[in-house]
Amino acid sequence: MAYSEKVLDHYNNPRNVGALDKNDPNVGTGMVGAPECGDVMRLQIKVNERTRVIEDAKFKTFGCGSAIASSSLATEWMKGKTVDEALAIKNTDIVNELSLPPVKIHCSVLAEDAIHAAIKDYKAKLGDRAEAGQPAETPA
């Protein structure tokens, strides 16, 4: 099976590889997949407390080239978006951008799951702070 140019580009030059401090209150971490299934994605976002814009995003992925490319692309797209804008990223957008074949659609689904998981984690932290009476942004 031949890989698309864009998958190859993300595989060879993955964007935003790395980790953010998962204990930082403004960092949300999403980890999805399982080693037994052959793919695990860890996606992290750092959100500006005031603007709710995702200022940084990092990933690490165990998986095939399409899984690596899907998560790399997800970090690229999330940066500069607000949390709610990022939630609107759909797996089909990733499929189209990377020209993924049908057998690789699950990679894009996993990337969408990772986006949601990271945002959920961030929001949970936000909620905890609100309950503890600490300053936090009110949801838009």
Binding site: A34, P35, D39, F62, G65, I68
Partner: protein
Amino acid sequence: MQTPIYMDNHATTPVDRRVVDAMLPYFSAQFGNAASRNHAFGWEAEKAVDTARKQIADLIGATPKEIIFTSGATESNNLAIKGVAEMYAERGNHVITSATEHKAVLDTCKRLEKQGYRVTYLPVQRDGRIDLQMLEEAITDKTILISIMYANNEIGVLQPVAEIGRLAHGRKILFHTDAVQAAGKVPINVLADNIDLLSLSGHKFYGPKGVGALYVRRKNPRVQIVAQMDGGGHERGMRSGTLNVPGIVGLGKACEICRQEMPEESKRLAYLRDKLKEGILAELDECYINGSLEHRLPHNINISFAFVEGESLLMGINDVAVSSGSACTSATLEPSYVLKALGVGEDLAHTSIRFGLGRFNTEEEVDYVTRRVVEVVKRLRDLSPLYDMAKEGIDLSTVSWGAH
């Protein structure tokens, strides 16, 4: 050195130039039908086929009349197993095979089950070999056939064929072995090993594709099989169809070359294989060899590179042709059933790579492949969240992974 480098010789091998040269006259100059008994064209073809029959028989310690030509090992396996099951149906309905057989054996057995036969699929031990004690215990008075491969196509592990043969003959049960990966690579003797039927295929040992053979024993015991295709009654009634003379000539020549060069070639390939393995293990931690190292084909190594998914590794070493047990590279989207049968976890099965060296690999290529594998595994581990976690001391087996 030229790239891409081919190191997937369990899948297929290039045809040796000497084999091509032997075949060429039989396409258009000596094109006769070996079954034409009344003119020189037929006689020439028949003579060429007889020579090939002898070359094949010599490779495995058989006699020429015991060699039946087929289209390849899939057909040989089908013919052997179905042919025996049908012929000896009155004697019994039980077949014993193993979990790590090729699909051509497993799916043939599954079809027999649908027809009312009973099949025992023996598990294998951690090293990939069957347990002889379990084999003995699986035998019943209805057992008519034991079909166990000579060497496995993924992990290169050699089964205890001589012991299986002795056991089978002691109980008057026929023994078939799928020797596709072993023929031409390790010494085989059907008499010494008590083998009754043996499948082989030309393209696995530098012969052409589309031609293979089935050895069917003629003495002690005389084995009979029911033909699975109707037609002109070629090959003593066991396999109808005009003989593929150029292919058969190539198959014979390939056998002859293997027989002559095996002692030297197997030593050279074992040296290269060990160099590849040592070179990789010296540079990378968390690598696991799948299958026995002691009972193994000289040209095979199968390694799991923990925390690096196999297909992504293949993508990184894109100028090297090897294969992976990862689900992403299989048609079924399941990781290797062979590795699973060994008890290799699915997580590690996804990270496995099979290296199959061959006659035309050089030491320079082995050094290059070693460097490329090490470099790409390191790069992908830097990308792997699992490697991070393992380095932090987290036991991945205790992590609760979300459903996926």
